[in-house]
Structures are given as structure tokens and as C-alpha cells.
């Protein structure tokens, strides 16, 4: 076997670049490179394995499944504009159907142009019922109606769409809190799951999105979308490590089947390839 030796400075710089370019963040990348600088390795594979192990340690959360408590169990999809909430709802609905669950959609984005139409098309494609009001209606009222309808029909899951909102806009975060309160009051806190949908192309701002949404509505999990592009989504490492919010799903395309459960191991292998 080849002797263990230290990494050349140029090699270390290159590794730093590779790590930073995954959107891992500067602090984590530099910390890793410092670790590498003081160790000896016998091969490239060993270096990669070391990095992977170090990053794997930072995934502290378990519970990557969709919860099961409650009938109906209500899943609220939140996140900033354009992150992929509406599309992700369609994907999760399809997954649940395949597992033999009954699903109801709630058109809780009563603000954006054609948001209700967009979700309605997905409902039609999946043959699932949808509860909707007019554009401009109170999103909490839509959510409430959907819960009522699901209870009456004995439906297993209610997936609630919400309007995109930037986390630094107070009034919008307050509106979201109200939707959470109304749903919790109707089905109980344990039956409500809140998922943050983040765009896999985004940079360090995803961490601040997660932190702010977490402060406003305690999040149960994250869906990271658009990882079918060349972006690596490395920012989830700091989200998992510092905020301990589990990433549950990964969106890999625009079709209804383009979603997979999140696995730290698979994710990190893809990150480092």
C-alpha cells in the first residue's frame, strides 16, 4: 500500500474550492480543510471518505418519515416564493396515494395569480379532492374548511398549500402563524406537520430562511427541491447541524414522481462526487 502522507497546499486549496462550490458554506469548508491539513492520507478515496464521515456527524436529526398521527393528518407546506411548494404537494400526494392513503388538497395560496388553478390542475391529474375558495379569501378559512371536509369524509391526509413569502416580511409571517393556529385548533397540534420547502439552487440564504421560519412556526421537516440541476444544496448541512431540522425529501424534477426520501449518506456521496 502507498505510504500515508500530508496533502499538498495546492490540493488543499482545490478541496476548499470544491467544498465551497457545493454551497456548504465558508466556515464548514474552512474547518474541514484545516482538519485535512493536519492529517495524513494514503489515497484520494481516503480523503473523500474522511470528509464524508465528518459531514455525516453533523446530521443530528432522525425522523425523516412523514408523520402518522391524526386523522386527518394535516401537512402544511411553507417557504419563500418559487421554492417548489405547490409542485411538492402534488408529489407527496401521489406518494401517499401509492401507499393506499386518501388525500385532500387545500388551495391555501389565495394571493398569487393562478395559484388556485395551478393546484387544481394537479388535483385533477391525481384524482384527489381539493378545497378552494376565491382568490383573495382568508387562507386560514380555506385550511379550516379543508380540515372539516377531511374529517367528514374520513380522509387520511390534508396537504395545505400556502402563498410564497419572504421570511423577512413580518406581516406575512404573522399570517402564516394564524393559519397554523387555526389548523391546530381544529385538528390538534400533534396532527399538524409543517414542512419548509427550500430551493436547491439557493445559497446561504436558505439557512436564514430555515431559521426565521423555525422561529415563526416550529418546523417538522424540510423538502429541498431542484437538486436535479448542478447545484448541490450543501447548505442543508448547517441547517441540520445548527437548527436540527430534518430534511425529509428531495425534489428531483418537475413531474409528479420526481421526489425521493432524503438520505444523508446518498446526499453526501452526491455532494462530493
Amino acid at each position: 500500500s502507498s505510504p500515508d502522507k500530508k496533502l499538498e497546499e495546492e490540493e488543499l486549496q482545490n478541496l476548499e474550492r470544491v467544498l465551497i462550490e457545493t454551497d456548504l458554506g465558508v466556515d464548514i469548508s474552512m474547518t474541514l480543510v484545516d482538519m485535512l491539513r493536519h492529517k495524513r492520507f494514503s489515497s484520494r478515496e481516503e480523503v473523500k471518505a474522511f470528509i464524508k464521515q465528518e459531514l455525516l456527524k453533523r446530521f443530528s436529526s432522525s425522523g425523516r418519515e412523514l408523520g402518522e398521527k391524526g386523522k386527518p393528518r394535516v401537512v402544511l407546506f411553507v417557504g419563500i416564493n418559487g421554492s417548489g411548494k405547490t409542485t411538492s404537494i402534488a408529489k407527496i400526494a401521489s406518494l401517499l396515494q401509492k401507499k393506499g392513503k386518501t388525500v385532500l388538497l387545500a388551495a391555501g395560496d389565495t394571493f398569487r395569480a393562478a395559484a388556485i388553478e395551478q393546484l387544481s390542475i394537479w388535483a385533477e391529474r391525481l384524482s384527489v379532492p381539493i378545497v378552494r375558495h376565491k382568490m383573495g379569501a382568508d387562507p386560514a378559512a380555506v385550511a379550516h374548511d379543508a380540515c372539516e371536509s377531511a374529517k367528514a369524509k374520513g380522509i387520511d391526509y390534508v396537504l395545505v398549500d400556502t402563498a410564497g413569502r419572504l421570511h423577512n416580511q413580518n406581516a406575512l409571517m404573522e399570517e402564516l402563524k394564524k393559519v397554523v393556529r387555526v389548523i391546530s385548533a381544529r385538528v390538534g397540534e400533534d396532527a399538524l406537520e409543517k414542512l419548509l420547502v427550500i430551493d436547491g439552487n439557493a445559497g446561504q440564504n436558505s439557512f436564514f430562511q430555515a431559521r426565521h421560519f423555525q422561529e415563526s412556526v416550529r418546523l417538522d421537516g424540510i423538502i429541498i427541491t431542484k437538486l436535479d440541476g448542478s447545484a448541490k444544496g450543501g447548505v442543508v448541512v448547517s441547517i441540520e447541524e445548527e437548527l436540527t431540522i430534518p430534511v425529509k425529501w428531495v425534489g428531483l424534477g418537475e413531474s409528479v414522481d420526481d421526489i425521493v426520501p432524503f438520505s444523508p449518506d446518498v446526499f453526501l456521496s452526491a455532494l462530493l462526487e
Binding site: 474550492r17 465551497i20 462550490e21 457545493t22 454551497d23 458554506g25 465558508v26 419563500i80 416564493n81 418559487g82 421554492s83 417548489g84 394571493f111 398569487r112 395569480a113 393562478a114 388553478e117 395551478q118 387544481s120 390542475i121 394537479w122 419572504l166 421570511h167 423577512n168 416580511q169 430551493d199 439552487n201 439557493a202 445559497g203 446561504q204 440564504n205 436558505s206 436564514f208 431542484k226 436535479d228 440541476g229 448542478s230 447545484a231 447548505v235 418537475e254
Partner: protein
């Protein structure tokens, strides 16, 4: 924040009469870290720091200015220079011009199309909005609704799945009606690694022959901005960039990477979901924002 970092630079350089390689290493490291945290791409940061270093070491420090102040000015000026690369404004003459709006999924293209139409309207130019996204559920409906809210004409072929056919028909309508100064074409979001969809965009631009092709970019785009900019430049003759969701708190480093790699500057920024929340780009304001 960068102002804090600049204070560190001031302290480090205080008492020195000129800027030397030794006494700016720490400062450059701080700036580099700040830019990477602001999502400026790695290779662009490397080039930027190199430029700043060369300019700093070449400076004779004026008696009245401290080396710290000098270096701060060099960093800020160099940032503005990076952001102003390829700067040009959209012309406002009344000849018929076509604009094509392209970009990754969810970055704000459809909304931006309506914003452009509204902006043209305020300048006395009449726009035809064209719904050429035949892929996303209710995309045409979305633009139709926005057009209605803006009191701007909208065109699409509701059952048509081929964007080329829609644009072809739109051009014919614009020519026949002879009412419009601008035609703004919305396109489906796509990944720059999707070769088939990127080729579709090339075909679309060959058929529509737009006068302006604007790459819409989310202000929170991460390190992938270089690859995104390069790919869209390779498949299209981009004429400018539009940065959206600037009402968020993303530092927007992608703007710098995009400008550097496409050679085109940001022309407009979206500052909200309303049609009116749209303004010209100011490199000096952006420089302050990226620097934090």
C-alpha cells in the same frame, strides 16, 4: 458586517504609511470570506481579490488618507466595476422590439414579464404579453391574470404545447395589429443542465429573433450562478440580467458572478410581488448590499 470588517482593516493598517503585502493579507482574507458568505462564486471571488490586491499594492498612500481608507475605497470601487460590466439600459424608442425572458425554475420570470409591461406602459410604450410557457400547469393563466391586473394585452394559444408555434402566432398578431411597441415573451423555467430544453430556447430565440434576451435570476442563487450564467450565455445571446426578490435579505452575490461570467450587467431588480415593485439596477447600492 462589512463595515465591521472595514474597521478591522483600518486597525490593521493604522500607523502604516503604505500598503504592503504583509499588512493586507488578513484584510483580504476577511473580504474573501465576506464575499463567499454573500454567495459570490468561488472563482469570481478569487479574481476579485486578485484585482484588489494588485490595485492596493500599486497605491501610494496619500498623506491625507489612511491606508485603511484607501483600501476600503479600492474594494468598493472594484465591486462597483465588477457589477457595472456590460452595463446598458433598455432603449425606450418606439420601434417594435421583442424581449424574451428566460431563467431557472421559479426565479420570477412570469411576474417579471408583467412588471416589464407595466414599466413600458409608464414610459408610454404599449406591450403585448406572450404566454409561451406551455409546460407549467396554469402558466398561461398566470400571465393572463397578471396582464389583466396590469391592463395590458395578452396573447397565447391555449391548447398549443409547442412554444415555437405560440411565438410565431404572436409575431403575426403583433405585425397585423400594428399596435405594439414591445412584445414580452414568457418562457418555461428550465435547468441549465437540461440540454434538450436549452436547445429549445436557442430554437425559440432563432424563431422569435428577440431584440433583448434577459436572464432572470433569483437574488438568493448560490455558487451555481457561474454555471447558470455560462450555460445561458452559451445557448443564447443574452443582453442583460434581471435580479428578483431583492426585497428579501439575500446579499445577492450571484449578481456579481452573473455579470462577470456573462459580460452583461443587471438591468432591473424586482423588489416585491406587486407589478409596480420593479426598478432600475444601481451598481453602487448593490455593492454595499453584497459587501454586507
Amino acid at each position: 458586517t462589512i463595515s465591521e470588517k472595514f474597521q478591522v482593516i483600518f486597525k490593521t493598517l493604522r500607523g502604516h504609511h503604505r500598503i504592503s503585502e504583509a499588512n493586507i493579507t488578513d484584510s483580504l482574507r476577511e473580504i474573501r470570506k465576506a464575499l463567499l458568505e454573500a454567495d459570490v462564486s468561488y472563482t469570481i471571488v478569487r479574481d476579485f481579490i486578485k484585482e484588489v490586491k494588485e490595485k492596493s499594492l500599486g497605491e501610494k498612500v496619500l498623506d491625507l488618507v489612511s491606508p485603511g481608507q484607501m483600501m476600503t475605497k479600492i474594494i468598493y470601487d472594484e465591486m462597483v466595476r465588477f457589477l457595472s460590466m456590460g452595463a446598458c439600459e433598455l432603449p425606450l424608442d418606439r420601434s417594435f422590439q421583442t424581449l424574451m425572458i428566460v431563467g431557472l425554475q421559479g426565479c420570477g420570470k412570469t411576474t417579471t414579464c408583467a412588471k416589464l409591461a407595466f414599466w413600458f406602459k409608464e414610459k408610454g410604450l404599449r406591450t403585448l404579453l406572450v404566454g409561451a410557457d406551455a409546460q407549467r400547469p396554469a402558466a398561461k393563466e398566470q400571465l393572463r391574470t397578471l396582464a389583466g391586473q396590469t391592463d395590458v394585452d395578452f396573447f397565447t394559444l391555449d391548447e398549443e404545447k409547442n412554444p415555437l408555434a405560440i411565438v410565431h402566432a404572436a409575431l403575426k398578431k403583433a405585425k397585423d395589429d400594428n399596435l405594439y411597441h414591445r412584445m414580452v415573451v414568457d418562457t418555461a423555467g428550465r435547468l441549465h443542465v437540461d440540454e434538450e430544453l436549452m436547445k429549445e430556447l436557442t430554437l425559440l430565440s432563432q424563431s422569435a429573433r428577440p431584440d433583448h434576451i434577459l436572464l432572470t435570476t433569483d437574488a438568493m442563487l448560490g455558487q451555481d450562478s457561474v454555471k447558470t450564467g455560462e450555460a445561458f450565455s452559451r445557448y443564447l445571446n443574452l443582453t442583460g440580467i434581471i435580479l428578483t426578490k431583492m426585497d428579501g435579505d439575500a446579499r445577492g452575490g450571484a449578481a456579481m458572478s452573473m455579470a462577470a461570467v456573462t459580460g452583461k450587467s443587471v438591468q432591473f431588480v424586482g423588489t416585491g410581488e406587486k407589478i409596480s415593485q420593479f426598478e432600475p439596477f444601481y451598481p453602487d447600492r448593490m455593492a454595499s448590499r453584497i459587501l454586507g
